[in-house]
Amino acid sequence: MRFRQTILALGLIVAVAAMAATAGARVATTQSKTTTITFWDAYSSDGPEVKRLEKVLIPQFEKEHPGIKVKDVTIPYDSLHQKLITAVAGSQLPDLVRSDIIWVPELANLGVLQPLDTTLPDFKSISSKVFAGPLATNYWKGHYYGLPLDTNTRIWVYSPLAMQAAGVSAPPKTFAQLQADSATAKGKGAYFYAESGTSCWNICPWIWSNGGSITNGTYTKATGFLNGPKAVQAVQMLVNLYKAGQMPNIVVDSNGGLGTYDGLAQKKYTSMLDGPWSFSIFASAYKNTQLAGTTVPAGPGGSVSVVGGEDIVMTKSSKNKTAAAEFMRFMLHSFAQTQMARAGQMPVLKSSTASLVKIHPYYATYLKQIATAKPRTPTPKWPQIDQVFQTQVAKAFTGDETVQQALTDAAQQIDGLLK
């Protein structure tokens, strides 16, 4: 009895102490006369980006703007969307969010984002300095609800050694070459091209490079486009590779199979499509594998990849909009953009491109690719649309439906979601 009471007492003391300590911290900040803006992001907690943000960028910003403090909250990427939605429902959004570009139309549609084209007096000037593609991801129903923060795209990333071991001397430049190389690699017991899913992020580069599209120009209709001949042809090419055993099964089921990174490191795969982070990751986790990159194999539509990245958005509920706008401008300035470039985040500033290649040589290929990259359909229902896309294309791969059937079904469902 004594012992238990002692333990309980000790525990309570620890508990109270911990709470008192944190409460004390809270009081300290509210007593100061500075404005504090809160910024949510989803950088990995032990990654180079968050280190740069917290150790270089924020101190620099606070030095340049005495009176404004920036509080950075890092949230695991997989949970950020859920946390945002809960925050919307509870009216607890922060001042600024580094949001995945695909969520911006949804958030804008919910009415929680500040339209920057009307709020920022220098919006035209800032927006002219950034790439058009990433900027377009912020557009919804006549307004721009954010500014691009960092961008990325997928290029053809491969291991030259693995490729040579598979009997191919150089990466493919055309669809035809891809098909020939896949057959060669199979002969040597390796998969030439590994793709780890069937969502638009995975498959759309092929559709676009073949000259096809997902919807019409105004994003209102999918039938006639997603199930049009060019899109069908592109998907059919991939399905044929899969059926011939020349693409690994992780395309339909990424759960139990060998991931692209591990596969490349083990030389079971020679190539994948991936973003600039893969180079940083391999440099630290797979030191024995050298990577190289080139543009996506070109089809009749050229070499067209998919735009990814994050936008920085300001919430309507923010009480410190002027201060938040200052931080936004800072993050879009060449200093911040170059710093983050060193951490593997591709800048959106057109003027940063010159220095980029000096930082990391692989950026040259990414810059080339992003010039023609296309964004995914900007609409609030994108998660549902992508779900339909993913399910139907997977059915084409497994043979449950023919490619034409699968894409026609998808287009019909997507039409309903685009209304």
């Binding site: 525990g11 508990a15 990995s44 607890q92 922060p94 893969s278 990751i281 986790a285």
Partner: protein, 281 residues
């Protein structure tokens, strides 16, 4: 005759130990794998063939995990919240269980039924209403708010469990105390609680564990990095594009230690005490 039964008892005992050991092996192998992985330098996390004994072995993951970004702070936060939750939950639920087990009063059935309903609704769906409630109560972004909600969440199960144990305590013992003039509080404190140590220990461990492991709610309400709890910290090692598996498993191994300690401490104190204890009246 005596030697025969002695060898037989020994044989039965050995059989027990053998079967138990085989089972323990199955229980422990995944942990061995996890522990082994935590000792591997990050690059070799998925190697074929998988090795249970890491070679080369390194404790770098542990030092990295512990020194990364206030990990020790998160550990203490989780510890404080878990201990407070356990204390309040065991106290409040034992009181409720006593009321349900020993008293008859109007509304008993209904209230108990409400408790059961609370048990059956998946908590995932309550996040949004709970979030709005927390906001209205000013309990967002606070560790004491966390204790408030965690305690509330464990009450149904704990009360249910304790009630059935309390019901098994013989009424005569309590009635004797009544004759002596003891009021309900005295009976509760001097008789019921001491006699239910194993049940209280069990309930305490479950509450501690529920609080220690809880992730989704903590992630939803805590923003201040100083107030993060351990599961959030572990999840943060998973990046958008890749996961530092060595770090995740090292951090998880560290996270297992307090709960195990709590289990070992409480189990020894109370279950072993029971065999010489009061129910042999």
């Amino acid at each position: 005759m005596v030697t025969g039964s002695a060898t037989r008892t020994r044989a039965i005992l050995s059989a027990r130990v053998l079967i138990l050991s085989a089972g323990v092996f199955l229980m422990v192998v995944p942990f061995a794998y996890m522990f082994a992985t935590s000792l591997k330098p990050n690059a070799l996390v998925l190697e074929i063939p998988p090795k249970l004994i890491p070679h080369p072995a390194t404790t770098a993951n542990y030092t990295d995990a512990w020194t990364s970004n206030k990990f020790g702070r998160y550990f203490l936060n989780s510890l404080g919240v878990a201990i407070a939750t356990t204390f309040f939950s065991v106290w409040l639920s034992s009181m409720m269980a006593y009321a349900f087990a020993r008293f008859s009063f109007p509304g008993r059935r209904i209230l108990f039924g409400l408790l059961l309903i609370g048990l059956m609704v998946p908590t995932m769906m309550l996040i949004i209403p709970q979030f709005i409630l927390a906001k209205n109560l000013g309990m967002l972004d606070s560790l004491s708010g966390l204790v408030f909600f965690y305690t509330g969440g464990t009450l149904a199960l704990n009360t249910f469990l304790l009630r059935s144990f309390f019901q098994d305590i013989p009424r005569e013992l309590e009635e004797a105390m009544v004759v002596d003039g003891a009021g309900p509080w005295k009976r509760y404190l001097k008789l019921i609680l001491p006699l239910s140590r194993p049940a209280l220990a069990t309930v305490g461990i479950f509450s501690f564990l529920a609080s220690w492991d809880e992730f989704v709610w903590a992630l939803t309400v805590i923003n201040d990095p100083n107030k993060r709890t351990l599961p959030i910290a572990i999840e943060l090692f998973q990046g958008e594009h890749s996961t530092s598996w060595g770090l995740v498993f090292a951090a998880s191994s560290i996270a297992v230690v307090p709960v195990l300690l709590a289990f070992v401490i409480f189990q020894r104190q109370f279950i072993s005490g029971l065999t010489t204890g009061a129910l042999k009246a």
